[in-house]
């Protein structure tokens, strides 16, 4: 079955049952500290559209669908599947983007997640949770080529309610270690660098955001996220700052969040002739995120 149609049908089905919400995502990237209560389910789909590298015509879509379950009132676990499509025309970057063309859509990754809540933002005044994920991915998110990665992430999540809960602050700090192994590509030019020796990557992300309920069920939010990655061969490979607005709808049965995250600043590795002030090899100029979740 075509992956796109599968996800579209799944999303339409969940939305039209007018069903579901609890580990509700108020923002596009920055997470909140709350967890599902024991016995509750949450199913959501997140679509991330990454567009623009300053040269040529590049865009990619990542679709994540995750089922989460509250094992206790403090711990929830989840399992997620990722689909991905990468389209690249007019940009070849030595070591990073070896080919032009359309790659995917295909199933790209599977992930296990867990979140443990230490402090409740509503009961303890300040919410604190630890989030962890184990991800196995077999499609390079940047080039669309075959690349096996195994990633383990640990993230501390803080959350604070203001105005009796009408305004919510969230802050995240995460560290992710990744083992990566690229598959060889036939017929590359002799002088093209496409390392196939396994490498290690360490990614650090700091994010913070605010969400304000401006009318019943409706929230406006803003977030900013700094991310940097260190890699075996080049040291600090990249850093970037993304920031932008979100609009969120949350009801008793379901929720949705739409987010625009332009890259505000970046640096690290560059390709010849790229615009200054951004990191455009592994990141894009813009990210658009749409999430729809159902709560059971």
């Amino acid at each position: 079955m075509n992956l796109t149609r599968f996800f579209a049908a799944a999303l339409a089905g969940t939305a039209l049952t007018a069903g579901v919400q609890a580990d509700e995502n108020l923002l596009g990237s920055v997470k909140g500290a709350e967890v599902l209560p024991k016995g509750a389910y949450d199913l959501y789909t997140a679509i991330k559209w990454r567009a623009g590298k300053g040269t040529g015509d590049y865009d990619a879509i990542d679709i994540k669908t995750e089922l989460e379950y509250g094992f206790s009132d403090r711990f929830q676990g989840g399992v997620a599947l990722f689909g991905r499509s990468v389209s690249n025309e007019g940009l070849i970057v030595d070591g990073y983007l070896p080919l032009e063309g359309n790659f995917g859509p295909k199933l790209a990754a599977i992930e296990l997640t867990g979140k443990y809540n230490f402090l409740s933002p509503a009961k303890d005044d300040f919410g604190l949770s630890m989030y962890s994920s184990l991800n196995y991915d077999w499609m390079d998110a940047h080039s669309g080529q075959d690349k096996d990665t195994l990633s383990l992430e640990f993230e501390l999540i803080g959350q604070k309610y203001f105005l009796e809960g009408q305004m919510i602050w969230m802050g995240n700090i995460s560290v992710e270690g990744t083992y990566a192994d690229r598959a060889p590509i036939d017929n590359l030019p002799d002088d093209f660098d496409w390392p196939t020796d396994p490498e290690m990557e360490l990614e650090v992300t700091l994010g913070t955001g605010l969400s304000y309920r401006f009318a019943p069920n409706w929230y406006l939010g803003a977030e900013i996220e700094y991310q940097t990655e260190f890699e075996t061969e080049v040291g600090q490979e990249r850093w970037s700052v993304f920031g932008g607005p979100s609009i969120h709808y949350g009801g008793a049965k379901w929720w949705a969040t739409a987010t625009w995250l332009p890259q505000l600043s970046g640096g690290g590795e560059t390709y010849d002739g790229q615009p200054d002030g951004l990191h455009l090899i592994e990141k894009t100029k813009n990210e658009f995120i749409l999430k729809v979740g159902l709560n059971f």
Binding site: A15, A22, G70, S87, A122, K123, G165, A258
Partner: protein, 183 residues
């Protein structure tokens, strides 16, 4: 943009479709219902709507530790055969997604007769409307602790709602002491 990415437009349209399908609200009790439950012997309910001054708001915050959000407060004086039975206060607090509307019956000397939830529209925590949870407020005065998992039990998945209703009842008792006590 390739074929796959064009489907993004279709996917983006789904939330709007879903919103049109599922916006709803559920009200469980009317104010008239709450009057009968909290003051079954009452024959008359005299409208005693209050407009809270800035100074009164500050005093309520100081006494209860909770912000008085509203300028206007719906209050009725319950009487039977000219005898003063108590006050009925209808209030709203922030829920996770929508306001929770509830009514508090208070004796003339400032004890909670009962709490009734009029409107609750959240995903979890419908136990908040059950008598076991609401009965925890019966007999409480402004001197109560009003702390979740101390004198008021929490409901998992609805902690914000529980906290705000608990804080709200304490604030209503402060309103009673500062504004209504003299009748």
């Amino acid at each position: 943009m390739n074929q796959f990415n064009r489907n993004f437009v279709f996917l983006a349209a789904l939330p709007t479709l879903a919103i049109s399908q599922s916006v709803y609200a559920k009200d469980y009790l009317s104010v008239a219902d709450a009057r009968k439950i909290l003051f079954p012997a009452a024959q008359t309910f005299l409208d005693h709507k209050l407009t809270i001054t800035k100074d009164q708001k500050k005093a309520i915050k100081d006494l209860s530790g909770v912000r008085q959000r509203w300028d206007d407060q719906l209050v009725w004086r319950a009487e039977a055969d000219g005898r003063f039975l108590g006050w009925l206060v209808v209030d709203e607090v922030v829920g996770k997604h929508e306001f929770i509307t509830y009514a508090v019956g208070i004796t003339p000397d400032g004890r909670v007769i009962g709490v009734e939830i009029l409107s609750y529209r959240e995903t979890h925590g419908y136990q908040i409307m059950e008598a076991d949870w609401r009965n925890q407020f019966k007999g409480k005065t402004i001197d109560g602790a009003f702390k979740l998992d101390e004198d008021i039990s929490n409901i998992s998945g609805a902690t914000l709602s529980c906290r705000n209703v608990t804080d709200g009842v304490k604030r209503v008792l402060a309103l009673h002491q500062l504004v209504l006590m003299d009748g």
